[in-house]
Symmetry: C2
Subunit: 268 residues, 2 copies
């Protein structure tokens, strides 16, 4: 397997400007990039005020305009994209529901979907909890897993992806708490995977609980090295070359982090 | 529940000086301390060269001299001690075996035992893998769990202890890799527990693979704050006051880190 150029795209979206936000994000994808991760809810912005508002801004996958645009961009630029968006889904019975999702779009026009498992704070009012577990996908010659933002605090999320074979964890985010960048180093070390955390910047004050997003998008190696990172303010991109095959779980001649797990000793 | 004074005792042991090493460690336990954690293998030192050597330096629990001395000190000073030592155990059939253990000694003369589950590198040659799982113990008015050194890299260790009710994780260590101090902050955040990592300093060169131990003993709060820490060189103690009841798993009005776990979504 050859090396990949990967990017974490850091954006400063304007709430509700679906087309403008997506075009601004795509404009930051560097030429020659193989895999680019865009933030959580990168088209809509974050701070919904009602379930109706979330539903009105959500789009079906893959037939909505955002997903169609992502697939077209992926094909044109031969890049795999992972982007967070509000997904509108029809269920069998009671009508529409909304997921905090991320869509993976390949250059060949195929796509895959992750729906955020661990919802943060008021997201529980607008979104249904993810019902697809933590699947992994083949993309750009490697195996990719997706988790979204607050999933970071549950070690089971990255662990599930890594045990299922993910070499690269794509992590669209809208982080407001300070701890995640450091914690993702632990996630990479304990699982020997790469992680690409794409976060946003800026503030939203659509309720009486203003939110400030911390930026600090980053790419971390399986050895816990921060290969590239953005600052805490400003849109931009963190770009790095990675070898996706470099996820050997052996940390000493006698220790393999996966073979050494002892599930019979755990109560989880 | 009232506050506790807790300490991480950082030592510079001399290989094989069982009595001297233990007395030097106990001399660092501060007056009025409620709970003190001593390093992994704090009596023997770390770098054994054969299984026979490990067996010759190991002691039974609780009848060996180290455990008897720990119990006497605990009673005299009204402190709960958690100390790593090489445990000599008789099994039913093939004679003696050795565990990399930690013994918890209460002021009332009772004790409890943890045997290291995840053995590091050549420890696999001298020690049997721990066969007691990750139990938790009542001590000094709270619930305490124990893990040893390399257990840190397996998120299942701290998770198992926290899910079983541990409010304070006692973590005797002989760390040589640089990542653990930061990773323990993640462990505390993701589980909302306190952690007391007691590490050693110095070097051992008893084989052609010299080891340098990194010190940096620390006490971390459930919010990921480093409450006290030692430097990377020198014996000493990190001491802090903690409220062991302050382990609320709620991180927002709608998020409880344990109730929000979704085991049906994990494959572990």
């Amino acid at each position: 397997m050859s090396e990949l150029t990967v990017a974490a795209i850091q954006t400063a979206p304007v709430f509700g400007d679906l087309t403008g936000n997506l075009e601004a994000a795509l404009a930051l994808v560097p030429p020659g990039c193989d895999l680019a991760v865009l933030p959580e809810l990168c088209t809509t912005g974050y701070q919904f005020v009602s379930r109706e508002e979330a539903l009105s801004l959500a789009e079906p996958v893959p037939d909505g305009p955002a997903c169609r645009r992502l697939l077209a961009f992926a094909a044109e630029r031969k890049v795999t994209l992972v982007a967070g968006l509000a997904e509108l889904a029809r269920d069998g019975g009671d009508g529409a529901r909304c997921y905090n999702s991320a869509v993976l779009c390949r250059p060949d026009g195929t796509w895959a979907l992750y729906r955020k498992v661990h919802l943060f704070w008021d997201e529980k009012l607008w979104f249904a909890p993810g019902d697809l577990g933590f699947p992994v996908f083949r993309a750009c010659g490697t195996t990719v897993g997706v988790m979204i933002c607050f999933d970071w605090i549950f070690p089971e999320a990255a662990r599930s992806l890594a045990l299922a074979g993910a070499a690269v964890i794509c992590h669209p985010s809208n982080l407001v708490l300070p701890h995640c960048p450091d914690a993702m180093i632990t996630r990479c070390l304990e699982n020997r995977v790469h992680a690409i955390t794409a976060n946003r910047v800026g503030t939203e004050s659509r309720t009486d609980q203003p939110l400030r997003f911390i930026g600090q998008s980053q790419i971390v190696s399986p050895r816990g090295e921060v290969l590239a990172a953005c600052a805490g303010a400003g849109a931009g991109a963190a770009v790095a070359r990675i070898d996706p095959a470099a996820t050997d779980k052996r940390v000493t001649p006698r220790n393999d982090l996966f073979a050494d797990r002892r599930p019979e000793s755990y109560h989880l």
